[in-house]
Symmetry: C2
Subunit: 374 residues, 2 copies
């Protein structure tokens, strides 16, 4: 048995493919759909845990690759694990490091055993294997951990064929290395680029392992929206309904709605905090950049009906001043707003599903979204 | 009558020269002694108003020079004043800009009318006069505003003689320009460098104007501690006991204690937040830099008995990680701690004065302070 009952997922309601549920973790029940802010280096940039709690965040993500390099997973373990280290009391997720060695580091070689790469910080040489990734993630101690996977150009069929086959062999090794089964839920990652046949194969191979949950990787990295939505529709009936599904790296208003409409429960993305640090805010009608002169004397909040701390207390004029004056508080306040928009959207989708009104809710939000965020 | 009763100061208790009192302002009663965090550009760097409230800040300072240049005092007035603009609901103080044109900008000329200077931001040319400084401060709308003064090298007697005489003439002009007398308390600034005769003259000239409060300027800018303490002792009997006294730009544990012991009620300083952004923390036994390797695996808080948010939730190891990883949260958490140390010290001094125990309290804190902060 690879799925301990502690990580049970209660499916509470469905509206067509859209799902509302509760995923039970050692750090409390996680209500889904949910959007997870990203805390790459053991902190969601510019925010305290209290600010994250206040804006309604329930799950946060940290990056195994970054924490392994700095401050080191052994140090985090000695300090009592990542929850204690960063003072986050709710559910937490770590990725496997597979995507970061592919996207951030200089890879020296990928072989059947693992990946040798150079640190993006100091160029030092390191090696990840499936076993090492799980060991690091067990040292960090997140509630949800990920299988170490091989990432690939989503449009190259032959590369994706070999990559998913290796990813499945690596997943078997991750399952073997995964000893903290009552503390951490190991999720498999379905890969296969934009190719239906490979996605089907990947879903079949991973679901056969009966893991506590499944992630969908290799999307939102350059393929079209149509490709993304088609893959999600393809996978919906292939993934077990009694396990949570996590769409990795997706975080726009539009994509959250389309994702939930296709059966996704968990999302994460750096977008809302990254664009915040460049002065951009999510609004009902699209993205605005608060640097623009038009906001210099605008006494309105970012969004008139937003319940976030930033919108309750500050004007666009003040936020523009902070950005122009290069004040750190600008990043804090814009991050609070942008995260609240996505966290609240996931909460509202959940409520609409429980009420049997997801379709009209989704149509209404998409109707207001006059401009795309991405 | 230049001192409206709204700005009355209730002297509640004295222990020798040390005073506990309440200064009444349009934004509530201000209990003294008090330490004011500095929000140069309309924000205490890296902190939200809620974080300032939580750490016990009751008075904050903003800089007229900076806000005049960016975003502009007219804009702040249009947005409802600085309280509303930066969402600070308690008492607020602005300086006159006199010190900043002297220390930050390239001064073109000082004449009897005012000062012509170039912006440190873009080199553009500007002019401050006493009337303009008061107009800007009235546009900003702080509870406590300052007379525009001429700053001088504290060791040059002949320059200080002419500077205080001009400062007194400018103070008369500031009083004339000061129309918002029921909303804003105008403080005079005693100058005169390290020279007893000039300080006496300056105190006499300004107290004759019967202003709502008095600041002591031109200290903590390079003179010795002995000079500073001697000047404070000299001024103590010369300043009216029923008006608050503000020692400008002073903000170490040691100086707060020595200042209160010599009759000071109000302090401000950028030091606690500036050193925080460089990884330094105030502790009972002096200043530590959290970057140091010795803290890498130190699971203790910055101070074992500190009640601040940072010390309640985070270890030295985590703070060191944030600083090393160049995370903004490091500045936020270290600023919270450092400000809490000085805000709490002022609160504790107040309580000790009310209890008649200031001398033993001060001796105890100074005894613990094995190393100097500055």
């Amino acid at each position: 048995m690879t799925s301990p009952s502690i990580f049970s997922y209660d499916l509470q309601a469905t509206n067509d493919a859209a799902r509302a549920g509760i995923f039970h973790t050692p750090h409390g029940p996680l209500e889904t759909p949910v959007f997870a802010p990203v805390g790459t280096q053991g902190t969601v940039k510019a925010l305290t845990p209290s600010q994250l709690e206040e804006l309604g965040a329930s799950l946060i993500l940290s990056n195994t690759y970054h924490l392994y390099l700095r401050p080191g997973d052994e140090l985090v373990r000695e300090m009592g694990g990542l929850h204690k280290f960063m003072a986050w009391q709710g559910p937490m997720l770590t990725d496997s490091g597979g995507f970061q060695v592919w996207s951030l580091s200089a890879i020296n070689s990928i072989d059947e055993e693992g990946v040798t790469f150079r640190s993006h910080i100091d160029g030092s040489k390191h090696r990840f294997t499936p076993e090492r990734s799980i060991e690091i993630q067990q040292n960090l101690g997140a509630d949800i951990i990920m299988c170490f996977d091989e990432c690939a150009d989503p449009f190259d069929h032959s590369y994706n064929r070999s990559a998913i086959e290796r990813t499945h062999r690596w997943a078997e090794r991750c399952v073997q290395a995964w000893t903290a089964r009552n503390q951490q839920a190991l999720f498999g990652i379905v890969q296969g680029g934009v190719f239906d046949d490979l996605r089907r194969e990947s879903a079949a191979a991973l679901t056969a392992m009966d893991l506590p949950g499944y992630a969908i990787g290799g999307l939102s990295i350059g393929e079209s929206k149509d490709d993304m939505y088609r893959i999600l529709e393809l996978l919906h009936p292939l993934l077990p309904s009694h396990k949570p599904r996590y769409l990795m790296g997706v975080g726009t208003v539009e994509d959250l709605i389309h994702g939930v409409a296709r059966g996704i429960d968990i999302f994460d993305c750096v977008l809302p905090t990254r664009i915040a640090r460049h002065g951009a805010a999510l609004t009902h009608s699209g993205q605005i950049n608060i640097r623009n002169l038009e906001f210099a004397r605008d006494s309105r909040p970012l969004e008139l009906d937003c319940d976030c701390y930033t919108c309750r207390r500050f004007s666009r004029a003040y936020l523009r001043h902070l950005v122009k004056a290069q004040e750190m508080l600008a990043s804090t306040l814009l991050s609070i707003h942008n995260l609240r928009v996505l966290v609240r959207l996931a909460q509202q989708m959940r409520l609409s599903i429980l009420a049997g009104e997801f379709q009209s809710f989704a149509a209404n939000v998409l109707g207001q979204l006059k401009a795309k965020y991405d």
